[in-house]
């Protein structure tokens, strides 16, 4: 039994950690959020140079191996730094779809561009009505000769406005909720008929509403078999969910520790407020939630790489438990900081916002509890 990181993993961790400490302080992050793109192109290039963009990919695809533990190592550090560069949306989620679903020629072209930092991708799966149901798809693609004609509306597409290409889950057959008949198309973001409305999300990231109006997509741009995309989507979203869970654990560690430190210095009634037992027990609860979250993250990371069919259940267990922990830790951090906690100027409120959106991304806590129970 061994929960320690390998030497390579330790190096990866310290390289990401060093970047966050030296180049990603709260002020710099705030400026990035307010910039046009919402993140730094330079940082993205640096991620590529340091090999971080290779982390999600297998050695056959030219990556660093793509293990869940490696991914966890990077995302935890990103969580501590509240990194807004679209690593999750572009490299893990969209890159994962390519790695899991694309043919060799597509992989060769796209994965190397991704790893070099030359390509931004976004995965458009959700729709205004779909909530967390991946098979609820009304965006239609109708075959017309060597092309598909795409019409529909994709909601809250992460990294949707910066993306060069969009991976779009469309319905090529069947009814709105059918598991069969879902197809992935790779659509150049500048194609005629693609309309993107980009916006900031509450957690400092960027997303877009993307509408397709008679968009012509060559059949060659289909990723995987027609009508058979759902399993690939589920598998990839499970992996992205693990990454998101790791980000949450990193953010929770940071914020619970910040809260403990704050209560050691903030004085009221002539005492550091951390001396009050009512607050101490609440911080112990934050600590407990964080430790339980870390434990289940490790469980899920170890299960994800074992091909024995338990991964979806393990991921849902982790997302459910971590969502619950994120809610408590985030809310308590704000409460114990008092007035300053509800201001925009304090970093704690930004951790809280990210921990809040994480609870709903890729399925809410309740959704994953039910998914766990159903397996």
């Amino acid at each position: 039994m061994d929960f320690s990181y390998s030497e390579e993993q330790q190096m990866l961790q310290s390289s990401v950690c060093k970047f966050i400490q030296q180049d990603y302080d709260f002020d710099r992050r705030s400026k990035l959020i307010d910039s046009d793109t919402g993140f730094s192109e330079d940082n993205w290039k640096l991620f590529a140079e340091l090999g971080w963009l290779m982390v999600p990919f297998s050695a056959e695809d030219g990556g660093l191996g793509g293990s869940a533990v490696d991914l966890m190592v990077v995302m935890e550090e990103f969580g501590r730094g509240l990194v807004v560069e679209p690593f999750l949306a572009s490299a893990v989620l969209s890159g994962g779809l390519i790695a899991n679903g694309a043919n060799e020629a597509q992989k060769r072209e796209l994965i190397s561009l991704l790893m070099e930092g030359q390509l931004q991708l976004a995965f458009a799966f959700a729709e205004p009505q779909s909530r967390f149901n991946l098979s609820d798809i009304t965006t239609k693609a109708v075959r017309n000769g060597d092309s598909y004609v795409v019409n529909g509306h994709k909601a809250v597409v992460l990294n949707g406005s910066a993306a060069d290409k969009l991976l779009v889950a469309v319905r090529t057959s069947g009814g709105q909720h059918d598991c069969e008949g879902i197809t992935l198309l790779l659509i150049d973001a500048n194609t005629e008929g693609v309309h993107r409305q980009g916006y900031a999300t509450v957690d400092g990231h960027r997303a877009a509403e993307v509408k397709f109006n008679n968009v012509m997509v060559p059949v060659a741009n289909r990723v995987g078999e027609e009508g058979a995309a759902l399993p690939v989507m589920e598998q990839t979203i499970d992996r992205a969910t693990l990454a998101l869970c790791a980000e949450a654990v990193g953010a929770m560690e940071k914020i619970y520790k910040k809260t403990v430190e704050y209560t050691k210095t903030r004085e009221q009634f002539g005492l550091a407020i951390g001396k009050f037992q009512a607050l101490q027990h609440r911080m112990v609860d934050m600590f407990t939630e964080y430790e339980q979250a870390r434990s289940i993250l490790l469980m899920a990371a170890l299960q994800l790489d074992v091909n024995n069919g338990v991964a979806p259940k393990a991921i849902s267990a982790a997302k459910s438990r971590i969502g619950k922990a994120a809610r408590l830790v985030g809310q308590e951090a704000i409460q114990l900081h008092g007035g300053i906690g509800v201001t925009e100027e304090l970093d704690v409120s930004h951790y809280f916002k990210r921990l809040t959106t994480i609870q709903y991304l890729f399925g809410s806590t309740d959704y994953h509890t039910r998914r766990f129970a159903g397996h």
Partner: protein
């Protein structure tokens, strides 16, 4: 990172399974799985079987007859015991007083006491709490006044679990006068229970169980040779005892087994047109507990992994008691919910082995309410969960 068992560990697991299959008496296993309290004779029988096998003391060093198992082996043992319905050994001798004796006792004390604990010849109980010293244990008032080669002990101990089965009691007593600071006046004494000045009076708990007692000491003469270590150092020894053997305190293996049984019961229980297991509200609660238990199992594994690589367990080990008892109590509630009306009958005699009447209600279900009631103790004993939070706050968070 890797949590797979090694070939040696897998072989050990097989050995454990085979042993339990062959040697665990069926009646003991059945009652344990049905969550019906065992009698002293049952424990004696099982613990002597363990002694024959050399597996009675899983937390002792080999030189005193312990198994010398690795943390992983202990984890495997706990899980298989839960699966097969093997009861835990009664902890007062094996897990509480023995570590104090082999850590702080004299050579003579080790030779005198340890073999009889190992062979389950002599039964122990714990004399810590007093009517007015609960969470604030150091305020205890039982006195031991030196008189030649003896101490004269007077006072009352309470919540003495299985004191009515015990041959000996290990006690914290006050030896210093009022001028000595609270903790520095506490001494650790071993006292034989058959002394005429000792009376044991039962305390019935809310589930109708007789587990705990009050133990009164009226001029009980105790040889100085029965003192552990030095006078006034008892608090230090007791603290070591309290922190010894944290692995297993979360009772993850037992809770896992109980959840497994509960799922089967809920699956067999009608709820309108479907089973209770398919009732969305019930399923949601069940899944939440199961997920939290899964997390706790990995928290325990993290602590075990640290110990097995020679490190002290990390801060994560401090949450084991709180989370373990919280989860066990939530499972108790789900059992009651599954029991429905059959939580009501309180037919104590039907749980006795000699009972030959018609059993009211199905087996494990009818013990669910007494079990729930009884297990409210778990968040109170061993340092209440609020005390645990004070400890974490001080020692882990530095507040």
């Amino acid at each position: 990172m890797n949590i797979d068992f090694s070939p040696e560990e897998l072989a050990f697991q097989q050995e454990v399974k085979q042993f339990l299959q062959e040697k665990l008496p069926a009646d003991i296993s059945e009652r344990t799985l049905d969550e019906i309290p065992l009698g002293k004779e049952d424990y004696e029988r099982w613990q002597k079987i363990l002694y024959e096998q050399g597996w009675a003391a899983t937390n002792w060093p080999v030189e005193y007859g312990g198994t010398g198992w690795t943390p992983t082996q202990k984890y495997i043992w706990a899980n298989e015991c839960a699966n097969f319905g093997a009861p835990d050994v009664i902890p007062f001798g094996f897990k509480m007083v023995a570590p104090v004796i082999f850590t702080y006792g004299s050579e003579e004390q080790k030779q005198r006491f340890l073999p009889d604990i190992l062979a389950s010849n002599v039964w122990w109980c714990q004399g810590y709490s007093e009517p007015n010293a609960g969470s604030d244990l150091a305020s205890l008032k039982t006195t031991a006044v030196r008189d030649g080669d003896e101490y004269i002990v007077n006072g009352t101990k309470t919540w003495t679990t299985l004191g009515h089965w015990a041959d000996w009691i290990f006690c914290l007593v006050r030896t210093g006068g009022p001028e000595v600071k609270n903790q520095a006046a506490i001494t650790f004494l071993l006292i034989e229970m058959n002394h005429p000045g000792i009376t044991v009076s039962p305390i019935m708990t809310l589930g109708g169980h007789h587990e705990v007692n009050e133990v009164h000491f009226d001029n009980v003469r105790v040889p100085v040779a029965n003192r552990i270590g030095e006078e006034g150092h008892g608090w230090t020894y007791a603290k070591v005892l309290l922190t010894h053997e944290r692995t297993g305190i979360a009772r993850v293996a037992t809770s896992k087994k109980r959840l497994q049984t509960l799922k089967k019961l809920a699956g067999d229980t009608c709820d309108g047109d479907t089973s209770l297991l398919e009732n969305p509200a019930f399923a949601q609660k069940l899944a939440e507990v199961e997920i939290d238990l899964l997390a706790l199992e990995f928290t325990e594994l993290r602590a075990l992994a640290a110990v097995s690589t020679g490190n002290a367990p990390g801060p994560e080990s401090s949450i084991l008691k709180i989370k373990g008892t919280e989860i066990a109590q939530l499972i108790d509630e789900l059992y009651m919910e599954t029991a429905g009306y059959y939580g009501m009958p309180f037919v104590r005699e039907q749980f006795k082995s000699e009972f030959d009447g018609e059993h009211v209600g199905p087996g494990v279900i009818t013990s669910s309410v007494p079990r729930y009631l009884n297990n409210r103790k778990s968040s109170i004993y061993g340092g209440s969960n609020e005390i645990q939070k004070n400890i974490i706050s001080k020692w882990v968070l530095g507040l």
